[in-house]
Structures are given as structure tokens and as C-alpha cells.
């Protein structure tokens, strides 16, 4: 399942707060697509993914925003 979290216009800690909210309900194998405008979210989400042992699949600069894709790999281990 793919969850889209639109945190555009929100500054730290907004994006990561929205991400974790969706992560609580996500299942192993789900993908979470996070849309942000705050550049600090890139390093915040990378740090969170590393610590929580989830996979940071992609960080892509789009037109006026950043798309971050995470695969839930830590649940159900």
C-alpha cells in the first residue's frame, strides 16, 4: 500500500510529525511518499529512516517541492 503525506508548507518538525503519524498505522512493505517544501526535512527523514531501520528509497527534487519515498521495512521482523 502507498500512503501519500503532503507536508508542503510545513516547517520542522511538521514533516516528520506527519510522517510518523502515518508510519504508526502502516504495515511492513508499505511505501510512504512524503511531499515537503522544507529542505531540512531531507536530513531529518534520512536520520529517522536510518534509526528506525526503514528504507529511504528516494529523495527527488520536483518543481517547487521535494518528494521523499520510504519503504516500511522495520515492522514485522
Amino acid at each position: 500500500m502507498r500512503h501519500v503525506v503532503d507536508a508542503r508548507g510545513s516547517f520542522c518538525p511538521g514533516p516528520i510529525t506527519e510522517l510518523v503519524k502515518v508510519y504508526r498505522k502502516a504495515q511492513a512493505g508499505d511505501q510512504i511518499e512524503l511531499l515537503v517544501t522544507d529542505p531540512a526535512a531531507k536530513s531529518d527523514v534520512a536520520a529517522w529512516a536510518s534509526k528506525s531501520k526503514n528504507e529511504l528509497v528516494e529523495v527527488k527534487e520536483e518543481q517547487g517541492y521535494i518528494r521523499i519515498l520510504i519503504r516500511v521495512t522495520s515492522k514485522g521482523r
Binding site: W48, S52, S74
Partner: protein, 395 residues
């Protein structure tokens, strides 16, 4: 007759009602308008005072007053809670079924600390965000605590962003004063990537924590608490043992908002962050903690949004054509112990800047605690405007 209904007489609702009563004084006097405030609580609590109750043993009575004493003459107070808001039919239901129609509505229902959202948290922890009574329990517990590990655990979303860090510093200060600091381990666990969400403020806070021997766990999102084992487990796979757990619980919106179906399952009202109008409604506003605006849930934001909404409503009533747009100003004191503080200041477009903790800023916070009740009346607005400028832009 124009009727402005305000739901909630907390910081935002009270300031708004008083500001409107000044702006619309002619209309109120001649009966062309009325301002009605709905409030079910017997006390208006100055919530930042909970820090002093929990960590300094202050008398809770100093920080509460009856709502009726805080509203200007001409404002009608309905001392019953509203039970339903109907935005489409422009009515408020209260007192077990009575309905009142409105011309303009402002929802200022605040937020609720809800430790029950996280399994085990309510049973295992104390908090100072839910009530004065809860804050008092922390003081009683800390006063007799002799040795062991105190964990301050932050959960999102919550009101008053500086409060977890303030708690940590004041616990450290209290333990030193009692001569037990060597026997007490203080641990701060936060979901943020750093000790404070604004990095410029984290730059100030983190070295101070390190200097005082406070251990910080970042990226710690509570999954559940096991009260028997006295352990907190995080979504990120860490576990944290504690002897005393002081939590900043996750917050949700007011039950009234959830029951009225205007704020989703968590109860945050979709609100335009500049106009403060409830989305898709031209006659209804939301201010303070009740909104879904990505800004800190704090008294200062409730205050400045109330001023902005009051100007907007007055402008709508008089048909001036002016639109007032909130600029997202925050200005929150953060106490660091040792009679020093910083102010976390910024707007939607200006991040908080790094600053040096000072006694002056600490004294400003202490003075404001005293001035709060006067501030609610609106008498200090000319001073705030002179030094800080208005909290809105006009289009």
C-alpha cells in the same frame, strides 16, 4: 442584529471577545450587535503557570480566575458548554438542546492533553499539561524523590513547545537545590531530530544540557509504555527504563470539535493560516490550539490570532474591504534554570534565531506571568504594537 458567538473563554476567546467589544462598542451600546461567549469551565487557567506548580510548588490559585471576571462589560457569557456546532446552518447548541444562531462564529476550544492515546502512558506517567491538579502531583512526587532515573518524555503534537525542555532544566535545578543531583539521572526523550525543533534554539539548549549531565534521546517516538516493567518502548526500536516518568502527552482537539464533525478524528479544525477562517466558510473563524495550522500551539499564538480575527470580523461588519492576514508570529519564553531564559521568536517566513540566555529574558517571563490578567483585557495592546508591530498584514 449581528451576533458573534465565541466558543471558549481561554486565552484566545477572552482576548477576542474583549477586543471586539472595544471595536464594536457603538454597535453593542445600541443593540445592533452582541458578543456571546460559551464557556463551561468555572476557571480560566493561566496554563504556563503549570510549570511553576509542577517544578516550584507554586499555589495553583494564583493562576486561575473566574471567566466572568475577565470579560469586558457588554460581553455576554453563557456559563454552559456548547455541545454542537453546525457551520452550515450557523447555529450553536448548548445547555442540553437550546440552539442559538450566529452571524459570525469563532471557535477557540483549545487542545486536550490525551495520554490515553498511547498504550500504558496514562497509567505510567505524570504530566503538567492536562490540569493544575496533575501539575501538583509532579511537585509532590519530585519533593520526595531521592534517587533513580527521571525520564521526561515528549509526544506529538503538544502545546507549548518550550515546556519539555523547561521541565528538564527545572528538574535539574530542583535536584541540585535538594542536594540529590548525584543520585538522580535525568533523561530527556524527544521525537525531534534535536533537543529542540528549531535548530538555532537547539544550538543553545544542547550544550547546556550536556554541561548539566542531562542525557538526550532524539528521534524517540513512543510506541507504548509498560508500567509494570517501568519501561518506555519507541517506534524506532529503543527501550528506556525509568523510575519516574514525566510525560508531555500527545494532544487532540476538543471533543466538541470532534463531535461536530468539523475537525477530523483528531479534532484539529482545517483553517486558513493567514485569514484564520475555517476553510470553505466566510463567517466562521478558528484560533489558538484548535486549528490545524502548522504553528506552535501556545498562548502567544492564541493571543495574536485573536487580535487578527477581531480586526477581520470588525472589518467584515463595517464593510471596510480590508483583509487581515496573520503573519505567524511566535514569541515564546524558554526558561533554562539558573534564572536565565531565551525567547523563541519567529514568523511564518522567519525562523527563530540563535541567542544568548539572559536574566533579563527570565525577568520578562516572570513579569509577564503577573501581567497576563491585564493583558487579557486588551489594555496592553498599544504597548505590544509599539514594540513588536501588529501580528498581521493588511490586504
Amino acid at each position: 442584529m449581528i451576533r458573534i458567538a465565541i466558543i471558549g473563554a481561554g486565552t484566545g476567546g477572552t482576548i477576542l471577545a474583549n477586543a471586539l467589544s472595544r471595536g464594536l462598542s457603538d454597535e453593542l451600546r445600541t443593540g445592533r450587535a452582541e458578543i456571546v461567549v460559551f464557556e463551561g469551565s468555572e476557571s480560566h487557567v493561566y496554563q504556563p503557570g503549570n510549570i511553576d506548580i509542577a517544578f516550584r510548588g507554586s499555589d495553583p490559585r494564583v493562576y486561575r480566575r473566574p471567566p466572568a471576571k475577565l470579560l469586558r462589560r457588554g460581553v455576554k457569557l453563557v456559563e454552559k458548554p456548547a455541545s454542537l456546532i453546525d457551520l452550515n446552518n450557523r447555529t450553536v447548541t448548548y445547555n442540553g438542546g437550546e440552539k442559538m444562531s450566529y452571524t459570525y462564529l469563532v471557535v477557540a476550544t483549545g487542545s486536550v492533553a490525551a495520554p490515553e492515546i498511547i498504550p500504558g502512558l496514562a497509567e505510567a506517567s505524570l504530566n503538567f499539561h492536562r490540569s493544575q491538579e496533575d501539575a501538583r502531583k509532579i511537585w509532590e512526587e519530585l519533593s520526595t524523590f531521592k534517587r533513580g532515573r527521571i525520564v521526561v518524555l515528549t509526544n506529538l503534537p503538544h502545546k507549548c513547545p518550550p515546556s519539555p525542555v523547561e521541565a528538564v532544566f527545572l528538574i535539574d535545578e530542583m535536584a541540585r537545590k535538594r542536594g540529590i543531583r548525584r543520585e538522580v539521572e535525568i533523561v530527556y526523550a524527544t521525537p525531534y531530530t534535536r533537543a529542540y525543533p528549531a535548530h538555532a534554539i537547539a544550538d543553545v539548549v544542547e550544550p547546556e544540557m550536556e554541561k548539566r549531565g542531562i542525557t538526550t534521546y532524539t528521534l524517540f517516538n513512543t510506541d507504548y509504555v509498560d508500567p509494570r516493567a517501568k519501561k518506555v518502548y519507541s517506534l524506532e526500536g529503543e527501550e528506556l527504563a525509568y523510575d519516574l516518568l514525566i510525560a508531555i502527552p500527545p494532544h487532540r482537539g476538543a471533543e466538541l470539535v470532534i463531535n461536530s464533525g468539523i475537525g477530523g478524528e483528531e479534532g484539529w479544525i482545517p483553517t486558513d493560516k493567514h485569514t484564520l477562517k475555517i476553510k470553505n466558510h466566510d463567517d466562521a473563524y478558528a484560533i489558538g490550539d484548535a486549528t490545524d495550522i502548522p504553528i506552535s500551539k501556545s498562548g502567544v499564538v492564541a493571543h495574536l490570532e485573536a487580535i487578527t480575527a477581531a480586526e477581520s470580523i470588525t472589518s467584515q461588519i463595517y464593510g471596510t474591504g480590508k483583509v487581515y492576514l496573520f503573519n505567524g508570529r511566535i514569541n515564546c519564553p524558554l526558561e533554562m534554570g539558573g534564572h536565565r531564559a531565551v525567547f523563541v521568536s519567529g514568523t511564518y517566513t522567519r525562523e527563530p534565531e540563535r541567542q544568548r540566555p539572559s536574566i533579563t529574558k527570565y525577568l520578562m517571563k516572570r513579569v509577564f506571568n503577573r501581567l497576563y490578567w491585564t493583558m487579557l483585557s486588551g489594555k496592553l495592546e498599544p504597548i505590544f504594537n509599539t514594540y513588536l508591530g501588529p501580528p498581521y498584514d493588511i490586504r
